[in-house]
């Protein structure tokens, strides 16, 4: 079975509200795909449709080429944590994992294995009602890993976690992807995916905004801008403007230069005898790239709205 999630023209409406609108993307094996969008963008609804929990009004979602409801022993095909708080408060953590394992005919030893994997050994005998959010997330992840599935899906796995927990989940997802699994992780904060995702699927209002590799997105957002630090800001700006660059002051002694490579900036400044104390190629953060993307989407929506009229 191929380790993929394929979403094709997926659509879900609740009355007059369109929650997911003609959404298509593929989650590939061997990498972490970030699924990003503001709250209410349709991420959870999409994940519930992938899991066969909500019925789509159109389109399809396939796991390894098959719809969820047709999977035999689905926990061995895809592991998911959609809602970490979805455990019965009066049931012990180990028993929660036990019934899940039994439901798919998995051996009891898998329960102990995922308890160790999730670092829950000391808490497994306790009732889940007394668990902190972080422990519930660990229990949810243990449940997702029960069937050793080639595809994994996590809805907001780091939401509300302390830095230690965030680091742990990131490293875990990375290692799962490195083993060749397809990993989909949603977040409403792009910054949570910084350094954690290889590929991004960005949605807003149920529609696809971007489906791109993180590296390419950052390169595009960074442009070929150069950050310059100099005590002679006015002189530097004049020299570089003459050399054909678009310059702007970004601080009392800082200049952002666009349209020239770092080498040509250095050459131009040296030629004119303008001193500088630092120069670096600008690297956009994911957050900046996201803002740029969503700004384009807003503009596009505005244009589309005018055309429709």
């Amino acid at each position: 079975m191929e380790a993929t999630i394929e979403v094709r023209a997926l659509r879900k409406t609740y009355g007059p509200t369109v929650a997911v609108d003609d959404l298509s993307f593929t989650v590939a094996p061997g990498q972490v795909t970030g699924f990003v969008g503001p709250n209410g963008a349709g991420k959870s609804t999409t994940m519930r449709m992938i899991m066969g929990l909500d019925r789509p009004d159109g389109g399809s979602a396939l796991i390894g080429g098959k719809p969820y409801r047709s999977l035999r022993a689905p926990l061995c095909r895809i592991g998911a944590m959609l809602d970490a708080s979805a455990v019965h408060p009066a049931r012990r953590a180990r028993d929660h994992l036990r019934w899940l394992a039994q439901a798919n005919g998995l051996p009891a030893r898998r329960v102990d294995e995922v308890i160790d994997l999730a670092g829950l050994a000391s808490a497994a005998g306790r009732r889940a009602g007394g668990f902190s959010l972080g422990m519930r997330q660990r229990l949810g992840i243990a449940a997702a890993l029960l069937g050793d599935p080639p595809v994994l899906m996590f809805d907001e796995p780091v939401n509300g976690l302390d830095p230690e927990g965030i680091t742990w989940i990131r490293a875990l997802l990375r290692s799962l992807a490195a083993e060749g699994r397809a990993v989909l992780m949603s977040s409403h904060l792009m910054s949570e995916l910084e350094g954690g995702a290889d590929h991004l699927v960005v949605i807003g209002r149920g529609r696809l905004i971007a489906d791109t590799a993180v590296g390419e997105l950052l390169k595009a957002a960074s442009g070929d801008r150069v950050e310059l630090r100099t005590a002679q800001r006015q002189d530097a700006m004049a020299v570089l403007a003459r050399a054909g660059a678009t310059v702007s002051a970004s601080g009392p002694d800082e200049v952002t230069v666009a349209g020239l490579t770092a080498e040509r900036v250095i050459a131009a400044l040296n030629g004119a005898g303008v001193g500088f104390t630092g120069i670096s190629e600008h690297r956009a953060t994911l957050e900046e790239a996201y803002m740029e993307l969503t700004r384009d989407a807003v503009e596009f929506q505005g244009v589309a709205g005018r055309e429709a009229r």
Partner: protein, 264 residues
């Protein structure tokens, strides 16, 4: 294979919640306690002759089931409503996508545990009543042989009472699946069970009482406890239990249909 896995999972789910054991204890305990209290409070002194009381002693002994059934209702509703309340229904359906398999497995394990608790409550009630009845004038000499399962009608009343509890729990499971919200489902099932007994107490019309008792789940279902004057019953013992079984079947089918058709 899938069915066996679903049964094991549902059994584990049921047995790992403390509330299950409390409800099972309540089914047996309330049936016994109320049965013993009612049996102990009735004697032959209010009749002209002891034999003239015409008391249906097995039915008297098993009257505690009227309260014991409340625990069966709660257990049946919790088996599915607890999953909606806790949110584990998503995990259940992720592991077993076939809704009908999930509901059938739940019905099987609920029926099994209620049958065990019901049997315990019924046998204990009969044993205690057997000890209490002679002291209240219900002796062999007065035409009331000691309660015994060797007596056909008594055995039928005892077995039927266990089935009654099982069917009430299944009715509750069906309503719980349809309604999803636990408090609403428990209220709905208790109302369905008690509405006719309460109404007939108020309208005081023998004709209407007979008509309603034939079609209402609790009065019809409890006809299975009668061992005397069967010809005067509005509905026969097994037919009455059949009425309750029909309610349970409709509730499970309706619950199952909604479970399959709608998003959880």
């Amino acid at each position: 294979m899938t069915a066996v896995c679903a049964l094991r999972a549902e059994w584990t789910k049921l047995r790992t919640l403390p509330s299950t054991w409390w409800m099972l204890a309540a089914i047996a305990g309330l049936t016994l306690a109320v049965g013993a209290a009612v049996t102990g409070s009735v004697d032959t002194s209010h009749c002209s002759t002891p034999a003239g009381c015409m008391e249906d002693t097995p039915k008297l002994a098993l009257s505690g089931v009227q309260l014991g059934q409340v625990a069966a209702v709660v257990l049946g509703v919790l088996a599915v409503g607890g999953e909606y309340a806790a949110g584990t229904i998503g995990a259940t359906l992720a592991a077993i996508p076939r809704r009908s398999t999930v509901l059938a497995a739940k019905a099987a394990v609920v029926a099994a545990v209620v049958a065990v608790a019901g049997t315990a409550g019924v046998l204990a009630s009969l044993a205690v009543a057997r000890g209490l009845l002679p002291g209240n004038g219900f002796t062999s000499a007065n035409g009331y042989p000691p309660l015994s399962l060797a007596d056909g009608p008594t055995a039928r009343a005892a077995f039927g009472t266990v089935l009654y509890l099982v069917l009430v729990a299944l009715l509750a499971l069906g309503v719980g699946t349809a309604v999803r919200e636990q408090a609403a489902a428990i209220t709905a099932v208790l109302a369905l069970l008690w509405i006719v007994p309460i109404i007939t107490r108020l309208i005081a019309s023998a004709k209407w009482e007979d008509r309603l008792d034939k079609i209402a789940p609790m009065p019809a279902g409890l006809a299975v406890q009668a061992t005397r004057g069967l010809e005067r019953l509005p509905i026969g013992p097994w037919n009455g239990l059949g009425v309750l079984a029909a309610y349970a079947a409709v509730a499970l089918l309706a619950g199952g249909a909604l479970f399959t058709l709608r998003d959880p």
